[in-house]
């Protein structure tokens, strides 16, 4: 028999009397608990730029549009949504929507919400940090109580896809309590009402009985099934998994890959995955030797055994990509030719480029991706691209690579596009001198295609432009194209009615427990 360590024995003595008298708070059948990585920064939907905050808020507030699990934008508070001309979109609102206070929602609330988001200093002297997410939105016109027109300054086909990340607030309520109060007070139109926010610890919500039912395109429609929902903040991965296995919570996010087997074997919970929105790649500095030589960049792509990396390092929870776009994204082209793992071809390309004896480069990355970078470096080194990994803090590394001057070699990084539209990923990372163009890539043809697609309203034509641009980029290889990792969640085995989506949301309106 193994000896019990003394500290455990001491702890057992200390805790036993309490353990025996108090049962560890088990969830009631209709109380659903989420073990979540981060607390909300605020409950004001217009005053943050954080996905985790959005995930929590989305259970309290609804938007004009929402997103399906497979990434389509569909009307939510709107009954219908259509484009009238290249600069105008019309939303017809539902007539039976109430705020938690009981007040009806009308077009005036929509205008107020979007003015608050887009106008300078419109939040009690502050400007919304979400302003830039609405691109060229110029104004919202109230046509009648239940119709609004969104007027843009320039054509922007991605506009409907940006609406699911903006939630509608009550004009009357904000005018009564003030803008600052929205950080902690909630009067939304969502399926749950706020009960209490214990900062850093939990957010407690209860069912809103007068809920209009949610998006018609996402059945079942109706009031929330759970009586109460609690987001319990557990930042540490191991503790989150432990809380799930101990039955303290019913859903957890960001499941560490090495615990997948443990969870699935427990019989108490199972792992569920959704395709993420983040493309991982290695930006290659095309502005200086040795990576300004196409053959070296192609050799680097041929040197990587992505299948092994995905299987061994990512637990199989990632999809290999041949280009920029995730398979879920608008404009994704199946069948784009992928660089095959071929070390011999890589060596021969290097020899052709005059590097028969190999060359030395540095691969920059952040601490979180150190393992992946080390594995990639060893594969590159094997074909003759002798790679040293340098680990940095993200806040330091990003400006180095995003700056105009490109002085480093390789950068293992990623770019997310929650709207799953090329505008959010292709344009910023590969258009000449755009904000996330780390590799310094510049091709006038690609720029022309991306610019034209940005304002092209014909869906087929627009997709065609992205196909063409992606084909050029794949051939010119400014990146080592890697993968799109899946978001990994785990749920208690009795939980039904919730599946993870590609937008990292945990909307609990339809979730319930099986008997």
């Amino acid at each position: 028999m193994r000896k019990t360590p003394w500290f455990l024995a001491v702890s057992a003595v200390l805790v036993f009397p309490l353990g025996a008298t108090i049962s560890a708070g088990s969830a009631e059948a209709a109380e659903l608990r989420v073990g979540f990585t981060q607390d909300a920064l605020t409950l004001d939907p217009a005053n943050h730029r954080k996905r985790e905050t959005e995930t929590i808020i989305r259970n309290l507030y609804d938007g004009v549009m929402t997103q399906t699990a497979d990434g389509r934008a569909v009307p939510e508070l709107a009954e219908s949504f259509r484009q009238i001309d290249s600069l105008t979109y019309e939303a017809k609102l539902r007539r039976n929507v109430k705020f938690h206070s009981g007040d009806p929602m009308t077009a005036a609330d929509i205008k107020f919400t979007f003015d608050r988001l887009t106008k300078e200093k419109a939040m009690g002297g502050q400007t919304s940090p979400r302003q830039s997410l609405l691109g060229p939105l110029a104004d919202v016109l109230v046509i009648d109580d239940y119709t609004v027109h969104f007027k843009l300054k320039a054509p922007w086909p991605v506009f409907p896809r940006m609406l699911p990340v903006q939630e509608v607030v009550s004009k009357k309520f904000v005018e009564k309590v003030g803008h600052d109060a929205l950080a902690t007070q909630v009067n939304g139109t969502g399926p749950f009402k706020l009960v209490e926010w214990r900062r850093g610890d939990s957010i407690i919500m209860e069912r809103f009985a007068d809920y209009y039912g949610g998006a018609a395109a996402i059945p079942p429609v109706g009031a929330a099934k759970a009586d109460r929902v609690i987001f319990k903040i557990i930042p540490e991965n191991a503790s989150r998994v432990a809380a799930l296995l101990a039955g303290e919570v019913d859903i957890i996010n960001e499941v560490p890959i090495h615990t997948i087997g443990q969870i699935d074997r427990s019989g108490k919970a199972k792992v569920v995955k959704a395709n993420g929105t983040r493309t991982f790649f290695i930006a290659l500095n095309v502005t200086r030797p040795p990576l300004n030589d196409l053959r070296v960049r192609q050799a680097a792509n041929h040197a990587i055994d992505k299948k092994t990396l995905i299987d061994k390092l990512l637990g199989g929870a990632a999809t290999s990509v041949a280009g920029v776009l995730s398979p879920e994204s608008f404009g994704y082209k199946p069948g784009l030719r992928e660089y095959a793992f071929d070390p011999e071809k890589a060596k021969s390309l290097l020899a052709q480029a005059g590097h028969a004896n190999g060359l030395d480069v540095v691969l920059d990355t952040e601490g979180a991706f150190k393992d992946q970078a080390e594995a990639i470096a060893s594969m590159l080194t094997k074909v003759g691209i002798r790679t040293k990994v340098q680990v940095w803090e993200g806040a330091v590394l990003t400006p180095i690579w995003r700056g105009e001057k490109k002085e480093r070699d390789m950068y293992l990084t990623s770019w997310g596009s929650s709207a799953l539209d090329p505008t959010g990923i292709f344009v910023p990372t590969l258009r000449t001198k755009d904000r996330g163009n780390s590799s310094g890539y510049s091709n006038p043809n690609v720029d022309r295609l991306l610019d034209a697609a940005e304002t092209e309203l014909d869906v087929e034509k627009r997709a065609g432009m992205y196909h063409e641009a992606e084909k050029i980029v794949a051939e010119e290889a400014p990146w080592i194209f890697l993968w799109v990792p899946q978001d990994i969640y785990a749920v208690g085995s009795r939980l039904r009615g919730w599946e993870p989506g590609s937008d990292s949301r945990i909307n609990l309106h339809r979730a319930y427990f099986a008997n």
Partner: protein
């Protein structure tokens, strides 16, 4: 205790706090990384929008002006607005500090409750098997990293035995109107025994995790100091006079032997306040240390500056209290 001493100590606080503020300000300002860029992430923002955000955060001012502004405002209790929480820093700190204080106090109590009796026992029975066990145990206690111990406790007591909650301060069914923000204290003041027990149930694992390492250290200090005192002439004299063993140990030896223990315990408060970061993360404890670390990663300058300042004030105050305690333990110590 002279009034002059108190005044002197209070005056000493001024350069200390000014120094802490300056060092933290310099470190965070010199660290590369732009809060505006971090906040905007990968999303589209025009240079004008980024500039407007920068102005709102007060980052358009040169560093020396920012520091002077911070100190001037801090003197009036205004620590500015947190960049990421988007509300006054004082509010964020006021919410989080009581949880950290509560955890620190309970950890310290556990540490003292374990270390003093064990230290005395080990000294009295010096060289015995008990002494050796206590010494080895304290070595293990000092060597165990908090995050590992925390996770082991969770796995054993929460997952396998189901006795303890994994995280949080109190179960959701308990509502405690806030008085001090320390749930144990608030529930006692309001006569809520069930809430008190539930909060105690929640705090034990994090407090044991933090307290054990400290207990191990304090035990070694108490043991060493006790051994030294027991060899003093006055102890031999008292023993020769036929003074009872218990009275001799508790009244004559321990009181003197505790001075180094008090010193180390006060110094280690800093360790507890800082060491909380890991334990707060492992146990989902909504304390100040965790929020400061998050603030460092997001370059939330006002939050980090004010948070560190508050911890510095607590640290200096605790050490001041330790000085006062010396006079009680040994009347020959004059302040």
């Amino acid at each position: 205790m002279r009034l002059g001493f108190v005044v002197e100590r209070l005056l000493q606080l001024v350069p200390v706090l000014l120094g802490v503020s300056l060092v933290v300000f310099l470190m965070i300002t010199l660290t590369p990384g732009d809060p505006v860029e971090i906040m905007l992430g990968n999303e589209r923002a025009t240079p004008e929008q980024a500039e407007s955000l920068r102005r709102e955060m007060g980052l358009d001012l040169p560093p020396h002006e920012r520091f002077v502004k911070f100190v001037r405002n801090a003197l009036t209790g205004n620590f500015g607005r947190s960049f990421f929480h988007r509300r006054p820093v004082a509010e964020v700190i006021a919410e989080r500090l009581p949880a950290t204080m509560e955890l620190t106090i309970v950890s310290m109590l556990i540490a003292l409750a374990l270390s003093i009796p064990l230290g005395v026992l080990a000294a009295v029975k010096r060289g015995s098997i008990l002494d050796r066990i206590a010494t080895v145990a304290s070595l293990i206690g000092v060597s165990m990293p908090g995050f590992w111990l925390g996770i082991m406790l969770i796995l054993l007591f929460a997952v396998h035995l189901g006795w303890m909650p994994v995280s949080g301060r109190v179960d959701f069914s308990h509502e405690v109107p806030r008085i001090t923000g320390m749930i144990l204290l608030d529930s006692l003041i309001q006569g809520r025994v069930d809430t008190f027990l539930d909060a105690l149930h929640h705090i034990i694992m994090p407090a044991v995790t933090l307290g054990l390492a400290m207990a191990a250290l304090l035990m070694r200090v108490t043991r060493a100091s006790m051994i030294e005192v027991l060899q003093q002439d006055y102890i031999l004299f008292a023993e020769a006079k036929g003074l009872g063993r218990a009275r001799l140990l508790m009244r004559h030896a321990l009181k003197n032997a505790l001075i180094p223990t008090v010193t180390v315990a006060a110094l280690e408060t800093g360790y507890l306040l800082g060491g909380n970061t890991i334990v707060e993360t492992v146990f989902g404890w909504p304390g100040l240390a965790r929020v400061i670390v998050e603030g460092i990663f997001s370059r939330d300058y006002p939050l980090v500056q004010a948070g560190v300042l508050v911890i510095a004030v607590i640290y200096v105050s605790v050490n001041f209290l330790a000085d006062v305690l010396y006079t009680l333990l040994n009347p020959r110590v004059k302040l």
